[in-house]
């Protein structure tokens, strides 16, 4: 199946039980899904299980996908992220050091293929750069929230700060990233 087939068409094929579409859909997204999950769970065996379950969920709930609310990739990655967070919560794993996640993000990927990514490489680098430029405490709060699913309350406890401070850090980081992305889009 050609890469010209849209993500939405492949997802429709997956929902309909088309084996070729399912294979193409999996091939197109598996590196991103597995990479994200591995970033969160930090264990290859668990990451493989969670990534697999992500595609099962995509197949099962493909009918609920609404293109008006976002791209197929972000819909799928959100499923992956939430499943991965569920797993680390159920396992009561010690929270991964957010700085470890930041370092992984900065390394980028050997498997990254510019042709099959939603954002062009330079834009991904800008996002990564924007994360790096955040003050350390905001960066840690953002990573704990966005990748590790920690609530503001939990972040406050982990970082030894008041709830209000944790909320402010999350908010400041998100607003800075939004401004950074808007500036990128205006260039």
């Amino acid at each position: 199946m050609s890469s010209a087939v849209s993500d939405e068409a492949l997802l429709s094929g997956l929902a309909a039980g088309d084996a070729d579409a399912a294979t193409a859909f999996t091939r197109r997204f598996q590196a991103r899904v597995y990479g994200l999950v591995l970033t969160i769970v930090h264990d290859e065996g668990t990451a493989e299980d969670v990534a697999q379950e992500t595609f099962v969920r995509a197949w099962r709930y493909a009918q609920t996908y609404d293109p008006r609310r976002g791209r197929v990739a972000t819909w799928l990655l959100t499923i992956a992220r939430n499943l991965a967070i569920d797993v680390i919560r159920v396992k009561r794993a010690e929270p991964l050091d957010p700085d470890v996640v930041v370092r992984k993000l900065q390394r980028g990927s050997q498997a990254e293929n510019p042709a099959d990514q939603e954002l062009p490489p330079d834009e991904r680098e800008r996002v990564r750069g924007a994360i790096t430029q955040l003050p350390p405490e905001q960066r840690r709060a953002l990573v704990l929230a966005a990748y590790l699913g920690r609530t503001a309350q939990e972040i406050g406890e982990l970082e030894g700060v008041a709830l209000g401070t944790a909320k402010t850090r999350i908010r400041s980081a998100m607003l800075k990233l939004r401004a950074s992305l808007e500036a990128t889009n205006e260039v």
């Binding site: 399912a22 598996q30 994200l36 065996g45 595609f55 990655l77 990927s109």
Partner: protein
Amino acid sequence: MRCDEVRDLAPELALGIADGEQRAEALRHLSGCADCRRAVEQLTQVADELLTVAPAQEPPAGFETHVARAIGLAERPARRPRARRLRLRWLALRVGPALATAAVTAAAMVGVYRDDHQTAERYRATLAEANGHSFQAETLTDGTGARSGVAFGYEGSPSWLLLTVDRSHRDAVTRGELRTKDGRTIPLRSLHLDAQGSWGGAIPVKLYEVASVRLLGQGPGDVLQASF
């Protein structure tokens, strides 16, 4: 909830980390406030972009085949899946309907499946209620590998097992035992299947020490086994 309160909460809504009550209040507000909805949507885009910059990495060989099998688009292997995978599917099967319902609601404003987080919280709270650490299910199979029931295990203080044996096998079961990972064999002396083929009880070891539970009959081939 007022506009300023929703705006304060917007980053947490976008990241899917707002607590359930606040989230519900905010969603009610968003359903009637286009400005706040737009503000949350902008931040949701930021949260989405964050996920796309995680480093891509190819999974192990055979991944797409495993996916195809899991969704019934390829022939299933004769060999039973690894326990880890079964546990995940078991969890998914039981929480799936609740997740689906919650996710459809959540999707209205800030994306699909954000309520997975709450499901995990509920699962953790359930375990915490009885000081448990995990709950899992494993398939009981007979000597041919055919499914013959399910062994549910709970790790806590104490750990316990609940066994359900299919009708076709239950009459043959006369006793049971645990095999531990360090090679011990521990008889399940209180094992007695009821009319529905079920038995449950505390076990004298931690669940994580259990390698398998075996249900035995009179003949040498009458063995049903579930591996943990």
